[in-house]
């Protein structure tokens, strides 16, 4: 499975994206680390066309004039769906991307179907500890199994730049109160996924989301930290694929017929 890099020409300028796979379209909004085609993304591409849009300013791209808020990013994503996907799609947002995904759902929920939020940012309480700046400490907070980080990961300067790029879109306030006030407007079916060892985003953020989202499920992934696609790829894949295939029915154990089963066993 290979992803190809493309460019979308949108009203505010051009946006890079990676696309791969075949099947129902799904938009993937990346975390502060930028685009990573992890094992769960590859599994997803077994039966979905996965569109991974690069947030302007990340992975060596330029910022776009007039796109400098989370709402602005959500509007950009909306335009991306209209222009590149052209139909209603599912949506995954991871960490920083989960924050954007929530805004997209609030502003244009009719464009997306089911939503998966992986450890979304934007809902950290004021007491939540900040992220360490020391790279070694940072890795500890982010990964329960740093040994699983692929050796071909991006150079540290790109990662550092990506982290800084997040600041372009929000003031650094831990809690997006304007968004919290509007979460109840989201009618989409949402799966919230969180690692039990996540040192970056506290579980209280997830509990808040769960209580505000009308149609939502919260699942903890054991022995995973913030980098849950790296820490526990099989568990994440199983959840995501089963949820996308069955909707609410993913609550039921279908034995060997589990929708995610095939994709995962291939992985």
């Amino acid at each position: 499975m290979s992803f190809t890099e493309k460019t979308a020409s949108l009203s505010k300028g051009s946006v890079k994206y990676h696309v791969g796979g075949e099947g129902r379209p799904i938009l993937y909004l990346h975390s502060g680390g930028g685009i990573r085609v992890t094992q769960p993304v590859l599994d997803l591409a077994e039966n979905h066309t996965v569109f991974m849009m690069v947030t302007p300013g990340f992975d060596g791209t330029d910022y776009l004039d007039g796109v400098d808020t989370m709402e602005g990013m959500a509007e950009l994503a909306k335009e991306f769906i209209d222009s590149e996907i052209g139909e209603k799609c599912d949506l995954i947002g991871y960490s920083f991307g989960g924050w954007v995904a929530c805004w997209l759902a609030v502003l244009h929920g009719d464009l997306v179907d089911q939503i998966i939020l992986q450890a979304p940012a934007g809902f950290r309480g004021k007491d939540a500890p900040g992220l360490p700046t020391d790279p070694a400490e940072f890795v500890k907070v982010m990964y329960a199994h740093p040994e699983k980080i692929p050796s071909e990961d991006k150079p540290e300067d790109v990662l550092k730049h990506n982290r800084e790029a997040m600041g372009h879109y929000h003031s650094g306030a831990p809690m997006d109160n304007a968004l919290v006030a509007r979460l109840g407007e989201i009618e989409n079916l949402v799966l919230v996924v969180h690692g039990t060892e996540d040192g970056a985003i506290p579980k209280e953020s997830m509990q808040l989301l769960k209580s505000k989202l009308n149609r939502s499920h919260l699942v903890y992934v054991y022995d995973a930290a913030h980098g849950l696609e790296i820490d526990q790829p099989e568990r994440v894949s199983l959840l995501v694929n089963d949820f996308l295939a069955r909707g609410e029915g993913f609550l039921v154990n279908w034995g060997d017929e589990a929708a995610g089963f095939e994709a995962v066993s291939k992985a």
């Binding site: 509990q207 499920h217 919260l218 699942v219 054991y222 526990q232 959840l239 154990n253």
Partner: protein, 373 residues
């Protein structure tokens, strides 16, 4: 000092020695079993009258060693018979069970008792893994994951799912949920260093069911305290439970005789099948590391040592009330624990002697340990 009254509920009516595993249950006479349950439940309820702070049950399978395959069933009965004593489940054997079920049953007990539950998360002794056909090699990993999951089931304000190594649930919200906030007090076993570290990690109380040597107990307590400090908290004496056998009488020789006879019955009759199963696990799995294997063999040797030696070593309480006070003072000075777990039904010690001893313990031993209550 707080006192816990612990009872194994052994089946004592089949006195032949055995080495078979499992112990054939044709040796179990159900009518006698019925009488024993009644006697034992009455006896345990009596602990409240005798001023004990806790009454404790635990889980064992497929042998006369203990008749509580699910101790929560006995816990429910005890709740109905008592008003204020803490109901300590020491414990459910977490790696053998569905953690959700444990969370549910403990929540039921906590709600039924108005918040009197002490929730034991125990790993169990090897033979139970043979009984339930669970791999002993997974025991620590299951204990860790299950304990986290159980705490989540008790405390999450919203329904949640769990995608783990051993356990998977898509949506959990248990009814009833427990009454104690933030959740029932947890006690974990401290029979190995690894277990002691885990107890510290979870902020749990720590219990050594039966101390082997003073030195070993001190090491385990240190491991627990160190682990707790690493996880940012400082255990108090009341977080540490130490278990001791007790035989008490006006006549010191009578107490010794009682304990000697009880230990012999325990080792030869009640424990025979279990030792066989233990051997199978020790030899064929990674349940214990080599250090622990050595300790287990030490423990078996310990079963052979005399009551006099036990008293000398401070690992049993035996004698007149005055002697027992001195012995317990010594253990307290050595270990600094705040809860003493008293086990009086060693082997087949007669029940009448036990009830008499409980009263004597209340009247003449407990008053010497009123500090800090």
């Amino acid at each position: 000092m707080e006192f816990a009254y612990f009872h194994l509920m052994p089946y004592t009516a089949s006195p032949e020695t055995t080495k078979d595993w499992p112990v054939p249950n044709h040796r179990f006479d159900p009518e006698i079993g019925h009488e024993l349950y009644t006697t034992y439940i009455d006896n345990m309820a009596y602990a409240e009258e005798c001023g004990f702070d806790w009454v404790g049950c635990n889980e064992h399978h497929m042998s006369p060693f203990g008749m509580m395959a699910n101790p929560n069933i006995i816990g429910a009965s005890l709740i109905q018979r008592t008003k204020k004593i803490k109901i300590a489940m020491v414990g459910n054997l977490i790696p053998l069970l569905n953690p959700l079920r444990v969370a549910e049953e403990y929540a039921m007990l906590d709600v039924l008792s108005g918040g009197r539950l002490i929730a034991g998360m125990f790993r169990g002794i090897p033979h139970e893994y043979v009984a339930y056909n669970v791999s002993p090699s997974e025991s620590y990993d299951r204990l860790l994951e299950a304990t986290q999951l159980i705490i989540k089931a008790w405390t999450e304000p919203e329904p949640f799912g769990w995608e783990g190594e051993f356990y998977q649930y898509r949506a959990v919200s248990i009814w009833p949920r427990p009454i104690q906030k933030p959740h029932p007090r947890i006690i974990m076993s401290g029979s190995s260093k690894r277990s002691a570290e885990i107890a510290g990690q979870f902020g749990a109380m720590f219990g050594i069911a039966q101390i082997k040597t003073m030195e070993n107990a001190r090491e385990l307590i240190d491991a627990y305290k160190n682990s707790a400090r690493e996880h940012g908290w400082e255990p108090k004496p009341s977080d540490i439970l130490v278990g001791l056998s007790l035989a008490i009488s006006e006549d010191a020789d009578e107490a010794k005789e009682m304990l000697t006879g009880g230990r012999k019955f325990f080792a030869e009759v009640l424990g025979g099948g279990i030792r066989t199963a233990q051997q199978l696990v020790l030899h064929k799995s990674r349940y214990y590391d080599d250090e622990m294997k050595g300790k287990f063999i030490d423990a078996r040797k310990a079963a052979m040592i005399s009551v006099d030696d036990l008293i000398e070593a401070g690992t049993a309480l035996c004698g007149t009330p005055e002697q027992v006070v001195e012995q317990l003072r010594y253990v307290e000075s050595q270990l600094g624990h705040g809860v003493t777990n008293i086990n009086m039904k060693t082997g087949n010690i007669p029940d009448e002697a036990i009830t008499a001893g409980m009263k004597m313990f209340q009247e003449r031993v407990m008053p010497a340990f009123q500090n800090g209550r």
